[in-house]
Symmetry: C2
């Protein structure tokens, strides 16, 4: 049904070798080209989609496009993590927070909405950018 190809392995290996990092399809293309195993952009998109469906990678959607990261096997002890995206600097932070887990249970039990943490991204300001913003208020215009 599905053939093993060097392109598929290259895409997964690249993400697997950079745990925790979020990469775009274009960044993947660039990295693989520099590593001497170029893979077409269309093929990269195809594999990212299939790898996500198969549970090997996670996708994070942002207004700037999608980013992908290797899926640590959360089933075996890995803590579920939540995504915070800074609107100012674009950085994506991972957060492990029991309050957040509890809130999701509240939403499910009391508001009948089942949150998908993988697709949910909190948008806002990271600490550095928030501080920078405060300082800007005190500057001369």
């Amino acid at each position: 049904m599905s053939h093993s190809t060097k392109q598929r392995q290259a895409v997964l290996a690249c993400l697997s070798g950079r745990r925790g990092e979020l990469l775009s399809a274009a960044e993947l293309t660039q990295i693989l080209r520099q590593a001497g195993s170029p893979v077409g952009l269309a093929t990269i998109y195809r594999h990212l989609t299939r790898l996500e469906e198969a549970g090997f990678v996670h996708r994070v959607n942002t207004p700037e496009g999608a980013f992908y990261r290797y899926c640590e096997e959360e089933s075996s002890g890995g803590r579920e993590c939540f995504l915070l995206r800074c609107e100012s600097c674009g950085q994506i932070l991972h957060l492990d927070c029991s309050h957040l887990r509890a809130l999701y249970e509240h939403l499910e039990r009391d508001h009948h909405f089942i949150v998908n943490p993988r697709e949910t991204v909190f948008s806002g300001l990271c600490e550095a950018c928030a501080r920078r913003g405060k300082e800007a208020l005190h500057e001369q215009p």
Copy 2:
């Protein structure tokens, strides 16, 4: 600095006359054309951007594009509301929940991340779609 034009008024009036509804730029175009006051798509995007910056409308980003709604004056008594988007049927629900407000305070105080509720959309399953999903598990394959 900014001129009052019938196009700007038409865009705001359309959203104002449909409180709570989330409309895309294309839907706005369609509605205004049918109402006999057609406005170019580029102009609609320009006004939506400016109206949002000025606080008259809110924007909600989804993987299917941006949606806009009239801004009820939250400053004067209107409850802040949160956005839940069903991944299955696409519907966007508004939620007023004190637990959620409290969680945002926790994220700010203890994790130094200031959430922007206007840009944050919880992705998941609405009640109807979750039930439909459960039923599907019991069906014959």
